[in-house]
Amino acid sequence: MGDILARYDFLGAFWLTIQLSFWSALGALLVGTVIAILRVSPVPVLRLMGTAYVNTFRNTPLTLLMVFSILGASYVLGLSIAQSVETNLFYWAIIVLSVYHAAFVCEALRSGVNTIPAGQAEAARSIGLTFNQSLTEVLLPQAFRGAIAPLGSTLIALIKNTTVAAVIGASDAAGLMAVIIENETGTVGVFFLFALGFVILTLPLGVLFTSLSRKLAVKR
């Protein structure tokens, strides 16, 4: 097994997984927050848009979205982001992972919003805060604190879901594992090694988010 590891770029593959996870998590958090704001806004059309987004992306298989990004968007519709195939699929993988997990981030945040008593928004309005100020000063900070645990679960799911990028040929951890299993014999050890790699990435995050959710919980 030692010589297998020497011939393949094990750390490089996990580095790509980490990069995919980081940028997708950032994207999902941004898009998800915007969608969550749409879903709690007082304007019915905006709420409808938010709901449509969540229902579309939460109910579509990630693999399907991932394949569509390359076969559909890049090749058929010609929506390539970068010249090189490798870079193009890296960017597309980040976009798909962001867009898909944004639906879950949105729902996590909305469950956070639901932990806030209606009186908080009324008090914010009654001292003259505008809708935007109520949102940024009173509602979202409390929503994020109430949503830390489900956001943590979404982040862990996202890290594991980066493996789906392997279906479009990304050379992340799962991509490399597929290659090794294809080319080598006696690869059960390799499989466990990759599994361990993911546990090392996700386990500390779980512990971190649990302790954060305890520490930052809003006492009522």
Binding site: A123, S126, G128, Q142
Partner: protein, 246 residues
């Protein structure tokens, strides 16, 4: 002749089929303390909440200091800043310290410099007797302390009028007086106040006018002394007999 500060004209509101406010007309002078009283479901809380448009209404108009209450947006926010509101369940911002609860409005809405807002906040906290708790969070305070902070938070905006929606109903009995004391003091200093309450003691001590509502209508409006000792309508007599016999 004092001029009217809050003028409510022909206000109607429905909750579905229920007609909760029926053609309400009420005028409140500057410095006046008005008690809204009535049986449960009479519309007194709803009326209180329409005055800063936490509840929308279908017809009629509400004017505050000569300005008509706008429907939405920035203008409404500006007007609300001039109308203090104290809630039954305090509604202090749970993720902010007591001091931050008081400075949020002045800093964000009035654009007061932070140092100045904090200085004024400490003065107000001292006035309501909770300055020692300034760095704590709302959940660490007793109900009575939280409600006094809520009053101070409203005062920090220098409101023209203050609304109190059953401010002592959620409090343990021994904490009611500490809140009422602050309110009596405010009334004495000339604050215009609209108070939904069942505290007869407060009404007798501090109110200029008692407005009795039943089934969404103003049934009777009189001085506290006249209202309590000599109610005119059968509804008011019935209501008073139920609450004053204890």
């Amino acid at each position: 002749m004092p001029e009217p500060l809050v003028v409510i004209e022909g206000v109607n509101k429905h909750f579905g089929d229920l007609h909760v406010l029926k053609d309400i007309n009420l005028s409140i002078d500057k410095g006046e303390v008005v008690i809204l009283i009535g049986p449960s479901g009479s519309g007194k809380s709803t009326l209180c909440r329409t005055i800063n448009r936490l509840e929308a209404y279908e017809s009629g108009s509400i004017t505050i200091d000569g300005k008509k209450l706008p429907d939405e947006g920035k203008e409404l926010a500006n007007l609300r800043a001039d109308v203090g509101m104290v809630f039954q369940s305090f509604n202090l911002f749970a993720h902010k310290t007591i001091l931050e609860n008081l400075t949020l409005g002045p800093i964000k809405v009035r654009k007061t410099p932070k140092a100045e807002a904090e200085k004024r906040a400490m003065e107000l906290l001292k006035r309501v007797g909770v300055e020692a708790q300034a760095q704590k969070y709302p959940a660490q305070l007793s109900g009575g302390q939280q409600q006094r902070v809520a009053i101070a938070r409203s005062l920090a905006m220098n409101p023209k009028v203050m609304l109190f929606d059953e401010p002592t109903s959620a409090l343990d009995p021994e904490m009611v007086n500490e809140v009422l004391d602050v309110m009596v003091q405010l009334a004495k200093e000339g604050m215009t106040m609209i108070v939904v309450t069942h505290e007869m003691g407060f009404a007798r001590k501090a109110a200029d006018k008692v407005v009795f509502l039943a089934d969404g209508e103003i049934v009777e409006s009189n001085t506290p002394h006249e209202f309590f000792s000599n109610p005119q309508s059968a509804r008011a007599k019935d209501f008073l007999s139920k609450i004053l016999t204890h």
